[in-house]
Symmetry: C2
Subunit: 214 residues, 2 copies
DNA sequence: TAGATTGTTAATCGATTAACAATC
DNA sequence: TAGATTGTTAATCGATTAACAATC
């Protein structure tokens, strides 16, 4: 099977979200056209994306069974198995993520947090213990944690990453605005809020120079 | 001039970050090759991206002047003019953004926050006042705010958006995991942490099914 | 049956990469 | 000068969209 593109992968959660809404409103069948219309996408694109994840084909004239499609997307994205993660860096952003309710239903459970600031140690946030950095390796090993979320300042991100790799982590969700150096078998997803803002900023910049804004 | 692609736009802040680091280490000249190597990108791609933003061409054999390039990227991305923004929804994520130091040097100043929870009103976070929703329209008008950051729960996001549009907002940075309906002259940047996580999750899912992880 | 929707094959579009000539 | 690096033109690659045949 052809390798899925990152574009398709990022659209699937949007389909999922839309389908859930529909399901809750009692809509039992849904067509690619409907989805495309709601999310402002191309109809054929939606169909192709759906064909990646589903074994049960849609029926001409009726479309897809909402619940089946929801379930298949969830399975494909891995929502049905729980990923235990650790979070490093209990600052404001770290705390926000620890408090975020929506992750559980997507299969993300943050099991433990680490921080080098001693005043934060042994606090609990939403039942999640904050431990000292010295515990990272043994705890990750014992709990067989594969995923780490990095919310430390940029300067410390690489250092933390090295420690994580030693501890057997296989995937990193990095919120620090810096490029991490990792071995090829470790997956890094770079979440960079300042990169996102730059896109917004450039757009506003254009408005100003065009005189679009008074 | 050809319209810049979102891909280029998202790479520029990474160049900027790398160039700043180099500048601070006293590196005065930098080549596209160097940047490409450091950020694991294609050399020609870096060169093309740079050509979008710079008027002063690089010199063969020496490359680009670090400081000039930094400055030109900043100008292009709009870091040199301050964008005043309002933030709606002072939950954990909202607070994290209000506390984030890095935005100022990218030209983002969150001037005011709003929340419908009365217990949060009149608090100040980093000198930023939290006001009731009823103040949104008059304040945005008076301060001529063009940018809004939405950190309310999904269910409230569209309602808030409608109010923002009435208040003259021209760009929205949306952290709620829902597709907003807006007029065509309003720019929406969708920041969706659960979409990001889905990419990570699917990757872990693959590892498991491949038996890559013991 | 007619029409809506499906899945597939082909065409288009845009971004990345390769090849190359120009120049400091 | 030779070689590194530039910018540009052409080739490749991949994603999106259009056209169409199949089917409920």
């Amino acid at each position: 099977m052809k390798r899925i593109s990152i574009h398709t992968l990022k659209r699937l959660p949007r389909y999922h979200q839309y389908l859930l809404e529909q399901q809750h409103s009692g809509v039992q069948k849904v067509s690619a056209k409907q989805i495309a219309l709601a999310l402002e996408l191309n109809e054929v694109q939606v169909r192709k994306d759906i064909q990646y994840v589903t074994k049960s084909p849609g029926k001409p004239k009726t479309g897809h069974i909402t619940s089946t499609l929801v379930y298949e997307i969830e399975t494909f994205l891995g929502y049905h198995q729980t990923n235990h993660a650790c979070l490093i860096g209990v600052g404001h952003l770290g705390k926000a993520l620890l408090n975020y309710e929506g992750f559980l239903e997507k299969g993300l459970e943050i099991s433990v947090a680490f921080d080098k600031d001693e005043t934060k140690i042994d606090q609990s946030i939403k039942q999640i213990k904050v431990l000292p950095m010295s515990q990272l390796r043994p705890i990750c090993n014992r709990l067989k944690i594969q995923l780490a979320i990095i919310t430390v300042p940029s300067e410390q991100a690489q250092e933390v990453t090295d420690l994580l790799i030693e501890s057997g982590i296989k995937a990193i969700w990095n919120f620090a605005p810096t490029t991490l150096v990792v071995p090829s078998d470790v997956f890094v997803y770079q979440e960079d809020l300042s990169i996102s803002f730059s896109v917004v900023s450039h757009h506003l910049q254009k408005l100003v120079t065009k005189g679009d804004i008074k």
